[in-house]
């Protein structure tokens, strides 16, 4: 079984400041890791993913995340946020053993950008 913990339900940040959204996971098997963003009344958009290889992955909209196996973390970062980044961010984990397994999501972090 897998689980995902997003430590902060809300993160207020001033515009142009850096931000880090934290994600920790628990799994007894090898996993893939994802970050999705959900704007109000919209679907989930893939921000970035870690499948294998380099532990630092870059995504869309200037976001990046670092996979840390020893700390079982996959924190999302952006050096300078914009008002348009206001959204709900979900960290998700999937089994990497092949097959069409469903993702397990964290509870989400609401990123609030203050002008």
């Amino acid at each position: 079984a897998q689980s995902v913990t997003q430590l902060d339900s809300q993160v207020p940040v001033f515009e142009e400041a850096p931000v880090e959204l934290r994600c920790n996971y628990s799994s007894s098997v090898s996993v893939y890791l994802f970050w999705y963003v959900q704007y109000p009344n919209q679907g989930l958009q893939l921000l970035l993913k870690y499948l294998s290889g380099s532990t630092l992955v870059k995504g869309i909209n200037g976001f990046e995340a670092e996979f840390n196996k020893s700390q079982t973390s996959f924190h999302l970062r952006k050096p300078s946020v914009h008002i348009s980044d206001t959204a709900e961010y979900f960290c998700a984990v999937g089994y990497s053993g092949g097959g069409a397994d469903g993702l397990t999501f964290g509870k989400g972090t609401h990123l609030i950008i203050q002008p």
């Binding site: 989930l44 469903g102 993702l103």
Partner: protein
């Protein structure tokens, strides 16, 4: 780029009625997933299909069933609807060989009255 298509986008039903949600995956994707997202909640996995065969099963109620057709589109059938079924239902698709990276559709918002 083509995305996952879901229909209808909004649906209003009465208690005990049935509903059918449709999902058209990204072209060449062979796997479809269904998720349920309650208000203010994270998405919960319901069920998935690979090459028209059920692959994984999550917290899907017995009142719900789904299938994937020969053209890879999928339908989620929901019967004896309850008030608690009101939620956003997402379909996602993936292609085996891409790390099963799931791309989500815009969702169907179901309201049960």
């Amino acid at each position: 780029a083509a995305g996952v298509i879901q229909s209808p986008r909004h649906l209003i039903k009465e208690k005990r009625e049935t509903a059918t949600l449709k999902c058209y995956p990204i072209p060449r994707h062979d796997t479809v997933y269904w998720y349920q997202q309650g208000p203010g909640q994270d998405p919960q996995f319901l069920i998935s299909f690979y090459e028209k065969m059920q692959s994984d099963k999550g917290s899907i109620p017995d009142r719900f069933s789904a299938q994937q057709f020969s053209d890879y589109h999928s339908e989620l059938n929901m019967s004896s609807l309850e008030l608690g079924d009101s939620a956003l239902y997402f379909c996602a698709s993936s292609y085996r060989g891409d790390g099963e990276t799931q791309y989500f559709g815009p969702g169907t918002r179901l309201l049960v009255l």
